[in-house]
């Protein structure tokens, strides 16, 4: 076992243990099965999703307010367009070159799908295919900001 694997395992154990405590309401009778389940879940998660680049958790937390604020804007924006009698839409496509590793690309796609006006539809030769609700909206900077934030969340390989 490498150090990175142990570190990722410890992170995930804390996460799963917190989840178990929340689900079981911290019942004392649930602690033993919980410990077994947490150990099993960590083993399974390390098998299914081996750690590649360690996450910087504080970056993730720091990104959260921005993400929440934008997903509220995204919901308000699409609700406004849906309910407006004139239904202002100008749908179109944009191809966005992304330098993130495959896992990061999927995360960026998922995030963009909750942001105002953008929806990821998979990748084409390393570029993310993004559907826009309104091709006139200035979204390039928002997408670039999102990519930078996600890139900052993962440390470079060999660094952790």
């Amino acid at each position: 076992m490498t150090g990175r694997r142990i570190r990722a395992g410890a992170h995930r154990a804390v996460l799963f243990a917190a989840l178990w405590l929340a689900l079981s309401g911290a019942e004392p009778a649930g602690l033993v099965p919980g410990a077994v389940l947490v150990a099993g879940s960590v083993w399974l998660s390390l098998r299914l999703m081996p750690p590649r680049r360690p996450l910087r958790l504080w970056r993730l937390v720091a990104h959260l307010p921005w993400f929440l604020g934008n997903s509220v804007l995204g919901g308000v924006d699409v609700a406004r367009r849906a309910l407006a009698p004139s239904m202002p839409l100008r749908p179109g496509w944009r191809r966005v070159q992304v330098a993130l590793p495959p896992g990061g690309r999927v995360a960026l796609g998922g995030e963009l799908s909750l942001m105002p006006g953008t929806l990821a539809a998979g990748t084409q030769g390393g570029a993310l295919l993004v559907h826009l609700l309104d091709t006139d909206a200035p979204l390039d900077r928002a997408i670039a900001h999102e990519e930078r934030a996600l890139a900052a969340m993962t440390e470079r390989a060999g660094n952790g």
Binding site: L23, S71, G75, V76, V78, P91, G109, G110, L114, H131
Partner: protein
């Protein structure tokens, strides 16, 4: 008392977003635009309803449970929207070839 009124207010706002998401799904012209409405509006609706219900909870564990439900729904919506969009794109491509 204040918590009850806030629950009503947040719940009502949540419902508005669910209605808007449904209206978008019916009115929007194509699959991709409809996905925008479904993922974004419905997630916000669920978020507000989770907030409304959280104000009625007595223990922190219950509130964490609600937060986990919302986070998992968010994750699922973001992922499923991408998968549906990709599938729709492929279906469109093959139709073009047939035509």
């Amino acid at each position: 008392m204040i918590a009850d009124w806030l629950t009503l207010a947040f719940g009502a706002v949540g419902l508005v977003f669910f209605v808007a998401g449904t209206v978008g799904m019916i009115r929007f012209p194509d699959t991709f635009s409809r996905l925008h409405a479904l993922t974004k509006a419905d997630n916000l609706g669920l978020g507000f309803i989770a907030l409304a219900v959280a104000l009625q909870m007595e223990s922190l564990a219950d509130i964490v449970k609600l937060a986990v439900i919302w986070a998992l729904a968010l994750l699922a919506a973001g992922t499923v929207a991408q998968l549906v969009a990709r599938a729709a794109l492929r279906a469109e491509g093959s139709e073009d070839r047939d035509a």
